[in-house]
């Protein structure tokens, strides 16, 4: 019997009432007295030297209040990289300054070099056009292709970085010789070169920021589209603007999707604060969709060569990869961690592989910055690995299901230390594989393929068995690996006098449903109705210092902090109850919302204890503070390791190359599940994005660095009719061993496990149709590319 409330219930998302009735409050909905409007002036060339900016005409136009250029921010700090990576030779990565506004040079189309503030948005637009016309930029050759970028020492994105190389990272460098030897000795070596296509995040809500400054107090306020208000505050206050943290409040109200792109601090946030101070008025900026395409941090963009050494029977002996990772024109906050510690550490997959070595060269180009996007590094690792395993099966004529089964770690092997530095705590990969085979009706595939053939279609089936490391992250470990921040989280549980509860979380919900799920957990633990628990997030003046939401961390890290705070509430409640019930504290037990004395019928309800804490007439004031409010910080002991098996079935139209995903089965192990409906929704969203990457989405710059896919007219987002009805299962659960809720995280799973399953299915379909010359098609596997491969 499914529960209808508390942990494990599919409680309806309470936030949807406001979202679906238009009552949400997004940054652009905030309207302030005397507000002024900012418009950014962006480069239309990919690479150029700023010769002259004449602001006089723009500044004199109607309604114009101020004009800013890069010169105005030359003295303040740059937007820093959050993670220091050392190259194989021990030298630190090259870390060019990322200014608020481009200064000296523009480095990608969309790079903002000036801003205009005016009374109205249209006046600011008019003046921005004038300013652009009054700017002289000497165009330089654009550096777009990564291989050319590292080969050409003369043409530099940053003048001080001669080979456009940020770092050359080896993981684990000490193992390199052993891996080379194992590869050399392997009876069979499979090689695959592939591209992990660059993606534009395309959150439904574009980025937006509003700056306020109170000259009477010196206080700043930034309302902004952020996944992590405290992290944004730290970056903009301490690193860029030099504002004391306690003089800046950052509010991230309702946020319409982030997928990683709203983790980062962007120059517009500093700009609106500086402008608000200069003018003494609120200054607002909202990106147009074109600006989102040009200036949001993009995702993926790897070019990889992967080699896999194996026996003729398909036992994996060694894996070696060489990757060029595009970081774009500047280092975004997590851009150096994404292709390294979120990628290389996953290259063993869920398999027992003795030897793994990963080399990543991060390359500057005249394109938008690239950073973490749903899955962040782990999709790239999974795609390389699952594609090369699929290729191995074809080269050696082996069954892809049996090859996975043969190589998967078995439950008795945990905890398992991988050759790339992680310790998997628990899992049962065979169970999810078996479940996917059952739910995907693999046994009935041949019959379905025959039916497709009768309709002129080629049917194929693709498998991927994936793992990720999330619940980001143990601070001591990431510190050793170069992180410049800690990755704990925090929550405050405030029991109000009347027994209802406000929970302030460091995690930020921008579509995930925290307000529902977190309330379910607190309600279950305290034996009170879910409706008595309110979740507060997104405002640094209200919440404890947490690190926000990304990396499938909210529940595993912030949820654990909240759980710890609830433990403290119960512990204090027991002390209060012991006093009120005239019993020893150790004789008090708490269950179903009641504090009871063991072996008696004496009890106090949670509400009575809460009231007593705030009206402490009968209360042990000499030994216990009044009030019932607890804060806990939680730093995870390890990453969490969700894993699963995905089976995709496609039909290929051989005449047009069109691929239809006709069935998709996802069997996942997320550990304990707090709200099955929300977990399914997260998987649906992730699989949809994975299908989007595999079949539709492509970010294409031409040789001059112009973005060819700069609007939805050319950038193909997946639509409802591009995806099938999914079969989703999470019954094969092995609870996480090191966090109190036993949860692993589910937000990124679909985006990680899906792309290789789709591409493997397409290759399978073509092989079944006799087109065995097709060994690989790069994503997106668009109709045109499939047709070319067929006719290649």
């Amino acid at each position: 019997m499914p529960k209808d409330t508390g942990i494990g219930a599919s409680s309806k998302r309470r936030e949807d009432v406001r979202f679906l009735t238009g009552k949400g409050l997004y940054t652009d909905d905030v309207s302030l007295h005397a507000q002024a409007h900012a418009v950014m002036v962006r480069s239309t060339v990919a690479h150029g030297r700023i010769v002259r900016i004449d602001t006089s005409a723009a500044a004199a136009m109607p309604g114009v209040l101020a004009v800013f250029t890069g010169e105005d921010f030359a003295a303040v700090g740059g937007n820093p990289a959050g993670w220091l990576i050392n190259s194989r030779d021990g030298t630190p990565m090259r870390e060019p300054k990322r200014p608020v506004l481009a200064h000296g040079k523009v480095r990608h189309v969309g790079d903002a070099y000036a801003a205009v503030i005016a009374e109205t948005y249209q006046q600011a637009k008019d003046a921005a056009e004038q300013l652009a016309a009054d700017t002289e930029i000497e165009e330089l050759p654009a550096i777009v292709d990564m291989k050319a970028a590292v080969a050409d020492a003369g043409n530099r994105v940053h003048d001080e970085i001669p080979d456009n190389l940020c770092f050359d990272w080896g993981w684990i460098e000490d193992n390199r010789a052993a891996v080379d030897a194992a590869m050399k000795a392997a009876p069979h070596v499979v090689t695959l070169e592939l591209v992990n296509n660059r993606l534009v995040p395309n959150a439904m809500e574009p980025r937006a920021s509003i700056g306020e400054y109170n000259p009477g107090t010196g206080d700043y306020k930034l309302t902004t589209t952020s996944q992590n208000p405290h992290l944004t505050r730290l970056l903009v206050a301490a690193f860029v603007m030099g504002i004391p943290e306690n003089k800046l409040t950052v509010v991230a109200p309702d946020v319409g999707g982030g997928f990683g792109s709203k983790i980062y601090h962007y120059g517009e946030e500093a700009l609106v604060l500086a402008a608000a101070k200069k003018l003494g008025r609120p200054v607002r900026w909202t990106a147009e969709r074109t600006e989102s395409f040009l200036s949001d941090a993009h995702g993926r963009d790897h070019v990889t060569k992967i080699e896999l050494g194996c026996t003729k029977e398909g036992e994996i002996l060694a894996i070696r990869t060489e990757t060029l990772a595009n970081v774009g024109a500047y280092l975004s906050n997590f851009s150096t961690a994404t292709p390294t510690f979120l990628h290389g550490t996953l290259m063993a997959g869920p398999y027992k592989v003795p030897h793994v070595y990963v080399n990543v060269k991060a390359v500057f180009t005249n394109t938008a910055p690239v950073d973490a996007y749903r899955g962040a590094g782990r999709p790239e690792a999974t795609y390389s690995l699952e594609r090369v395993i699929d290729k191995m099966c074809r080269e050696l004529n082996l069954d892809p299901f049996e090859v996975r089964r043969k190589n998967l770690l078995t439950p008795d092997q945990f905890p398992y230390t991988t050759p790339v530095g992680l310790v998997y705590d628990t899992g049962n990969y065979q169970a999810t594989l078996d479940k996917a085979i059952e739910l995907g009706n693999v046994a009935g595939f041949e019959k379905r393929a025959a039916e497709s053939k009768a309709r002129g279609k080629l049917r194929g089936m693709g498998l991927s068995t994936w793992i990720e490391a999330c619940g980001i992250a143990p601070s001591h470990l990431v510190g050793v690996l170069g992180s410049r921040v800690g990755l704990y989280d925090a929550a405050t549980v405030r029991v109000n006098a009347t027994g209802n509860i406000s929970v302030m979380t460091g995690a930020h919900s921008h579509g995930q449903g925290h307000e529902t799920v977190f309330a379910q957990i607190v309600a279950e633990r305290l034996g009170i109705p879910e409706s008595s628990v309110e979740i507060v997030h997104g405002d640094t003046s209200k919440i404890p210092f947490g690190m926000g939401s990304y990396g499938s961390r909210s529940l595993a890290v912030c949820g654990s902090a909240m759980n710890k705070a609830v433990d403290k509430i119960i512990a204090k409640g027991k002390k209060i109850a012991a006093h009120m019930l005239e019993a020893a504290e150790e004789d008090i037990s708490f269950a179903d919302g009641k504090f009871s004395v063991a072996g008696t019928d004496k009890a106090k309800t949670f509400g009575e204890i809460a009231f007593s804490a705030y009206v402490p007439h009968n209360y042990p004031l000499e030994t216990l503070e009044p009030g019932l409010e607890e804060t806990a910080f939680y730093d995870p002991g390890n990453f969490t390791y969700p894993a699963g098996a995905y089976i995709c079935e496609v039909e290929v139209d051989p005449d047009t190359g069109k691929v239809d995903v006709v069935a998709f089965t996802a069997a996942d192990d997320f550990g304990n599940v707090m709200n099955p409906m929300i977990v399914e929704g997260q998987v649906h969203g992730g699989v949809g994005q994975g299908i989007g990457q595999a079949l539709c989405e492509n970010t294409s710059y031409d040789e001059n660095g112009q973005l060819l896919t700069g609007s939805f007219m050319d950038y193909a987002m997946p639509r409802a009719d591009d995806v099938p009805f999914y079969t989703v299962d999470h019954s094969c659960s092995t609870p996480c061993t090191h966090n109190p809720l036993g949860v692993k995280g589910c937000g990124e799973a679909g985006a990680i496990g899906t792309p290789p399953a789709v591409v493997n299915a397409v290759i399978d379909a073509l092989h079944r149709g006799g087109m065995t010359h097709v060994t690989h098609i790069d994503m997106p596997v668009s109709p045109h590319r499939v047709w070319q491969a067929i006719n290649g």
Partner: protein, 262 residues
């Protein structure tokens, strides 16, 4: 968007007069013009709306076939042409999304003559007549290349008259992002022959595939065109498909349209 004036005349004569002013621009459904203005790529002084003119609205049978007022939205054509010309109704019902279909108009589409629009293939494939405030123009004379038509300064499309074929079908292959026609083929079988019109594929805009018309006029079946090839020369090559790919689509979709024709 820059500032502009707006007028909404109720007769064709008033509209023509309004359009004679300096910087005036006709506005029908605005599905191309408005986004262009929002991007500040067009800045007309005055927009003259053509959607308030009663005689430019609606679908009805009349002399020469099915008459469709130029300012009739796609959604109305999809609904009201279904009983008379199902292939045309289906084409209209497959343009864009519901919002586009309830604003965009047939006249606006063929006056703009976007090389990837659906309607030009139906007009050319049906051998329709484009009626303007000045004259009647045969479809074969009307379309003159990408974004180019026979319309003269101050001339507006007021209606389109479609002869009804025995059988017809439109098959579109979507451009993956915009869902305009990467290639679309309209096939119509009349008593005196078959017309095949192709949109989305050519650098010269909508065109008739003469070899297929000849073959299909002799034998209206997909196998009749099996031996034909489409020259990739002059086809559009872009992110979503090369010229060779589009040439292939022309043939594949023509065969499918013949099979689907009702």
């Amino acid at each position: 968007m820059h500032n502009f004036d707006f007028t909404k005349p109720s007769t064709i004569a008033e509209a023509v007069k309004a359009l004679s002013a300096e910087g005036a621009q006709a506005l029908s459904g605005g599905q191309t013009l408005i986004p262009t203005m929002k991007q500040r790529l067009a800045a007309p002084v005055t927009l003259v709306s053509l959607t308030g003119i009663a005689e430019m609205q609606g679908v009805c049978m009349g002399e020469g076939g099915l008459h469709i007022g130029a300012a009739t939205p796609h959604a109305v054509v999809a609904r009201d042409a279904a009983a008379h010309y199902p292939a045309l109704a289906a084409l209209a019902g497959g343009i864009g999304d519901p919002a586009v279909r309830n604003r965009g108009t047939i006249g606006g589409s063929i006056a703009n003559n976007d090389p990837a629009a659906c309607y030009p293939s139906a007009v050319l494939g049906s051998g329709a007549t484009v009626v303007t405030n000045r004259r009647k123009i045969a479809a074969d004379d009307y379309f003159q290349g990408m974004f180019t038509t026979a319309l003269e300064e101050g001339e507006i499309v007021t209606s389109v008259v479609f002869p009804i074929p025995e059988k017809a079908a439109y098959v579109k292959f979507n451009q993956p992002a915009s869902r305009f026609a990467l290639t679309g083929v309209f096939v119509a079988k009349f008593k005196d022959g078959v017309r095949v019109a192709v949109t989305g594929a050519s650098n010269d805009g909508v065109f008739r595939w003469a070899e297929a018309e000849a073959a299909l006029s002799a034998d209206f079946s997909a196998k009749a065109i099996a031996g034909l090839t489409v020259d990739a020369d002059g086809m559009i090559s872009d992110l979503h498909g090369t010229a060779a790919y589009r040439a292939n689509l022309v043939k594949v979709l023509t065969g499918r349209a013949v099979t689907a024709a009702r």
